[in-house]
Symmetry: C2
Subunit: 344 residues, 2 copies
C-alpha cells in the first residue's frame, strides 16, 4: 500500500476546499457528584458493573490494602469499538473516503489513482484489507503540506456534515453511553482518563474533548511526521507524508510509556490490537482492572469477534477468559448503547 | 559521536549495579490559595513580576477581552537553566558521567572506550562539545537492554547520592524558588503546567513530580526507542539504543503538537534551544506570554548568554528584546535563587 501513497503525496491537497470550524455534536456528561451518587445507570446489574464498582471502591478507599494513590490512577481506553462504534468501517476510514472523493472532484489526476478510486467507490474488496495503520498513512499522505490547524478544520467540518450510513446521525453521536458513564465515574473518583488508540491523533483530538471530556493532551494515537516552519511570517506545524508512530498492538504500551510515563492501573479495549495494552496494565503490582467490550449485539449495534477484519478479537478473548479479565456483553449488560434520542 | 555509541551499545549494562528506589529531595510547594493570596514572593517588584501578574489577571478574569478558557491555559517550561541550574554542565551529563564511571569500574573493556574514558575523567575539552542530544544518545546507548523501571531506579539512586560540585547538595535542590512559585501561581489560576525539555524524558520523569509538582504525563522530552516484550513472563518496556525524538529547537513545537496537541499560551525558556517554542507560542491568536530566564548573576548562580556552549542565548535574546518578550534578570528580579536553607 506504500507505493500509491507515495504517488498520492505529490498530488494531495491541491484541491483543499475551505472549511468552517463547526465542532461535533455536544454530549452531556454528568457531574462528578452525580456519577458517584448513581454510578453507571446504563449498565445492567451483572458481572461487569459489579467488577467495576468493586475495583473503584477497593482502590480509592483509604486504608484498603488495594488503595491506589491519586497520582497513579491512570485509566486508558481504546477508541474504535471501545468508546464508539467502528462498523461498517472505522469512522476515520469514512472520513478518508469522503475526503478522497472531495479531493478527487477537484483534481482529475488524483481521481485516477486506483486506490483512491476504489476507496471513493466504497468497493468492499478494497476496504476489507485496510488497517488503522493504512488509514493513518492514507490520511497523512493526502493531507501533507497542510498546517495542523487546517487539517483539524477539515476534520471538524466533516464531523458537522457526515452521516453514518446505518443510523443517519453524525458519527460523533455513535459513542457509547455506558462508556461515557464509566469515564465520568472514574474521573469522579480521581482517575485520569486517557485514550490510547490506533487511530490518528490529529483526527481524534478534534472530537475527543467534546465527546468524552478527554482533552487533547490525554489522547495518545498514531501520528504522521510534522515539521515546524515559519510560513508567511507565522510559525506553524506542517503535516508531512511520513508515519512517525503506530499506536497499535505492541505500539500501545510503547505509546503509553512515551506519552503518559506511567503504567495504567485500568485499561479497556475491544480487539486484539488492545491485547498488549491490557497485558502491560496487568503486569504491574497491586490492584488492576482489564476489560474488553464484547460486540455481541447484532440488533442494537453489531456482533463480531473472532476473525473479524475490523476489531477482531481472538487471542484477546482467550486470554481474557483464561485470566478472568472483565468481558462486557453489550447485549446483556448495556441497557442503552448510544446517548441520543431515537437511537438504541 | 555515533560510532563509539554503537560500539558502546554492545558493552553496556553488563555491570549494572543494584539500586534502591530513593527519590530526590522533596520540595515544598505552596497551596493554590496561598499562591494567589501572596503571589510570587521571591520575585522582586519589577517588570517581569508585573508582566506575569498582569497576564494572569487579564486572561483569567471573566469578561476580560483577553480571557482564556481554562482548557486552553497551557503553560510550557524548558527545564535546564529555566527550572533548575545547568552549570557547570547539564545535570543529566553529571548523571551520565557518574554512571559511566560506575559501569567502567565493573567492565574493563568498557573502561577503555575513549569517549567514556574522557567523560569519566571530566576532561573539559571532551565535555565542551556535548549537546543535550549527545547526552540522550549516550544515556540511551549505555542503558539499552534495561527495562524502563530499572533505568528509573538507577536515576533515582543517583539523585539520592550525587552532589553538585559547587553547592555540595543533591542536584534536585538546585531548582529555582521563583519558578516554583510561578508554577504554583499558574496552577492556582487553572493553567496546566508542562515541561518541554531537550533532556531525556525517562530521566526527567524521575524527579519532576516531586521537584515541581509536574506529573510524568505532563513532561515532554527527548526519547530513545522503546520496545514491548514479555520477559520472564512479565510484560515490560525495554530501552533500545536508538534515538526516537529530539525535543530541542524545532523539535519543541513538534513535541508540543504531538504530546500536548494544543498551542501554549504561556512559555518560558532560557536559551536558543527554546526560541522555536516561544515563536510557536507567540504565533497563536489572543493573549500570549513569552519569557526568558536571563542568567546574569555570577555571584549567586552563573552569568552566561551569547556564545555559551551550554544554554547559549543569542538569537533568542535579540528576538525577545525586539518583540517585547519578558526577559527576567535573575540578579535584579529574583530575591532568592534556590529553596533550601544555606543556599543563595
Amino acid at each position: 500500500m506504500r507505493n500509491w501513497l507515495l504517488l498520492a503525496c505529490g498530488l494531495a491537497l491541491i484541491a483543499c476546499a475551505p472549511t468552517d470550524t463547526d465542532t461535533p455534536a455536544a454530549t452531556a456528561t454528568s457531574s462528578g457528584a452525580a456519577a458517584n451518587a448513581n454510578p453507571l445507570p446504563s449498565w445492567n446489574d451483572g458481572p461487569s458493573r459489579s467488577a467495576i464498582l468493586d475495583f473503584v471502591q477497593r482502590t480509592t478507599t483509604p486504608g484498603s490494602p488495594d488503595f491506589i494513590p491519586v497520582a497513579e490512577r491512570i485509566a486508558t481506553f481504546d477508541n474504535d469499538g471501545c468508546l464508539w462504534s467502528e462498523q461498517p468501517a472505522y469512522f476515520q476510514l469514512a472520513f478518508a473516503i469522503d475526503r478522497s472523493k472531495m479531493l478527487a472532484a477537484h483534481n482529475p489526476e488524483l481521481a485516477q489513482n486506483p486506490v483512491l478510486e476504489a476507496l471513493a467507490s466504497g468497493d468492499e474488496q478494497a476496504l476489507a484489507g485496510i488497517t488503522e495503520h493504512d488509514l493513518v498513512e492514507l490520511v497523512a499522505a493526502t493531507h501533507s503540506g497542510m498546517t495542523l490547524e487546517e487539517f483539524q478544520d477539515v476534520v471538524a467540518n466533516w464531523f458537522a456534515v457526515a452521516r453514518h450510513p446505518r443510523f443517519n446521525v453524525p458519527y460523533s453521536q455513535l459513542i457509547y453511553q455506558p462508556m461515557l458513564e464509566l469515564l465520568d465515574y472514574l474521573r469522579a473518583n480521581e482517575f485520569k482518563t486517557f485514550i490510547v488508540s490506533g487511530g490518528g491523533v490529529d483526527f481524534l483530538r478534534v472530537f475527543a474533548e467534546q465527546a468524552y471530556g478527554i482533552p487533547p493532551e490525554q489522547v495518545v494515537g498514531s501520528m504522521g511526521d510534522t515539521e515546524f516552519e515559519i510560513r508567511d511570517g507565522k510559525p506553524v506545524l506542517i503535516k508531512q507524508p511520513g508515519i512517525n508512530f503506530v499506536d497499535d498492538k505492541e505500539g500501545k504500551p510503547v505509546g503509553i510509556a512515551r506519552f503518559i510515563g506511567r503504567r495504567p492501573v485500568f485499561a479497556f479495549g475491544n480487539s486484539d490490537g488492545d491485547l498488549q495494552m491490557l497485558q502491560y496494565t496487568a503486569g504491574g503490582d497491586g490492584a488492576r482492572f482489564m476489560g474488553y467490550v464484547h460486540h455481541d449485539d447484532a440488533e442494537r449495534e453489531w456482533a463480531y469477534d473472532r476473525g473479524s477484519h475490523i476489531g477482531g478479537l481472538d487471542k484477546g478473548l482467550d486470554e481474557a477468559l483464561e485470566r478472568g479479565w472483565t468481558v462486557v456483553s453489550m447485549k446483556d449488560e448495556w441497557a442503552k448503547i448510544y446517548p441520543g434520542e431515537g437511537l438504541p
